[in-house]
Amino acid sequence: MKAGFLPKLLLSPSVLLVLACVYGFIAYTVYLSFTASQMLPNYEWVGLTNYKILLGLQNWWISVNNLWIFALLYIVISMGLGLFLAILIDQKIRAESVVRSIFLYPMALSFIVVGTAWKWLFDPGVGFEHVIRQLGFTSFSLRWVTESHLAIYCIVVAAIWQTTGFVMAMFLAGLRGIDAEPVNAARIDGARTWQIYVHVIIPQLAPVFASAFVVLVTMAIKSYDLVVALTSGGPANGSWLPSVFMYQYTFTRSEMGVGSASSVLMLLAVGLFVLPYLLSEVRRVKYG
């Protein structure tokens, strides 16, 4: 039905709010990134100065390098492990819902809770190291959380633990929606289970891979809470991510211009992956 006045009127608050608080705010922050803003917004135009400062800061490059390490390991391992678990669960196992719930429950926890739990598991004084030493392996050492260049791996482990169940659920939904014809045909031809998975089933999961990838990339770039709770960005600033950098420079160090510039780069990184995906999704979904 053609939309008259009322439907448009009722849709407009949402549209206006999003226009203002998403697109308007993005525009405002982009503008700030070209100004001399420090503790407060200051509308004096300084061109690309903030971006030049940003790209010359060691803290920024530590954050970016950490993001590469974090995103790569986080995405590859949670996708691999998620797919693996989904395939195992898909083998008509007993108590499927119990097993599924066990892998999924970390998803219900906030990153602050997840960070708190893993902070102590990685703490050499009371955590894994302590436990394993008490078992008799007195030279066992696990000191990632105390080493500035290793702390990011603690974040990786905790993030994988939190998200793998979600990726598993996505793949499981994909597996349950697989077209049975080619699977049966392959079976009649005498293919083994793993061959069917590699050649017939996994290729059909391409859309799930794409969805999972986009979700995980954006989660990696947005990640903030987990770092705050697990390492507070430390030791020194060894586990900073761009999200932590932005917060620190904007709200703690009163470098609002540089902080804005960093958030603009974060948005560009997200946009690079999300926009193509979004366009294809919107085109794909039809409605009656």
Partner: protein
């Protein structure tokens, strides 16, 4: 549903397949154990006196069970300037989450209905624009939002946090309801229209009564997201309006002196209980909700 698993059928189950089944359960059991360890560690240590954690180890059960860490975490732990424990922040999180969830669910239903049942130019563009909001890194809106809240006199208030959570939830809720209503039988809506149902008639009498599954999914999803939210909470709240996530982080990360692990573990579980309950009571819908955002089918 694809009949993917091979070994279940057939009359002769070979030894090789049986070994395969055992290995399958062994691997699944081992992985399940790995996933349960952090929760187990938090739980058992929240019942130990601190001395037992310092001298013993995190894996063993308490030799003296005590509720003291829970009582401290809930009622007397020092958080920021006050020693009220988590109690007031627990209430704050509910005061933020409940109105925000109700408002966003209503917005989602309305938007989904309009975007699927009415045609207008640029509908897809509007939808894409709303959806993009789901993915943006929120760092890019923090500064202007802080100023807007200041101008509206909502800085550091529960109302301000409700507003923020509703605004940045619009994308998700619209996505959920739009996909659900897109698959809704069109004939039902058309015949209701022929019977004279207007805009609200169709929504109240036809769509909403048939929306229980998607309403449940949206409520679970929004409640979990808002309850667990930290960035907005830590940026826009004051001492009196902090949500639980912020209080927990303050308790764990800014306390001086002795690290009271048992209290921290109890506090973390207290912060996790509402979403865990929601998840356990409605696991099936939770899974469906998670998937609705990414996989259709």
């Amino acid at each position: 549903m694809a009949d993917v698993a091979l070994p279940s059928q057939g009359t002769h189950v070979s030894a090789g397949l049986r070994v395969g089944r055992v290995a399958l359960y062994a691997v699944l059991g081992f992985m399940a154990l790995l996933f349960l360890i952090p929760l187990y560690v938090m739980l058992v240590n929240a019942f130990k006196p601190l001395s037992e954690i310092e001298t013993g180890n995190l894996i063993t059960l308490p030799s003296h069970w005590t509720l003291q860490p829970w009582l401290t975490a809930w009622g007397t732990a020092q958080i920021g300037v006050s020693a009220h424990g988590l109690k007031p922040y627990f209430l704050n999180s509910f005061l933020i989450a409940i109105p925000a969830v109700i408002i966003s669910t209503l917005i989602g239903a309305l938007n989904g209905y309009i975007l699927t049942q009415y045609k207008f130019r640029g509908a897809n563009l509007v939808y894409a624009a709303l959806l993009f909001a789901v993915f943006i890194p929120f760092q890019i809106v923090l500064i202007p939002m802080a100023r807007l809240l200041g101008m509206m006199d909502l800085s550091g208030t529960i109302k301000g946090l409700i507003f923020v959570n509703v605004v940045y939830g619009i994308g998700f809720v619209t996505l959920f309801f739009r996909n659900y209503y897109a698959a809704f039988p069109h004939e039902l809506v058309r015949s209701a229209r022929m019977d004279g149902a207007g805009f609200f008639g169709v929504l109240w009498r036809i769509l909403l009564p048939n929306s229980a599954p998607i309403i449940v999914v949206t409520v679970i999803w929004q409640f979990t997201n808002i309850w667990n939210e930290f960035l907005f909470g830590s940026t826009f709240s004051s001492y009196s309006s902090s949500p639980l996530t912020v209080a927990l982080n303050n308790l764990v990360n800014s306390s001086m002196g002795v690290k009271e692990y048992n209290v921290y573990f109890a506090a973390a579980i207290i912060a996790a209980v509402p979403t865990l309950i929601v998840y356990l009571l409605s696991g099936k819908y939770f899974v469906r909700g998670l998937m609705a955002g990414s996989v259709k089918g």
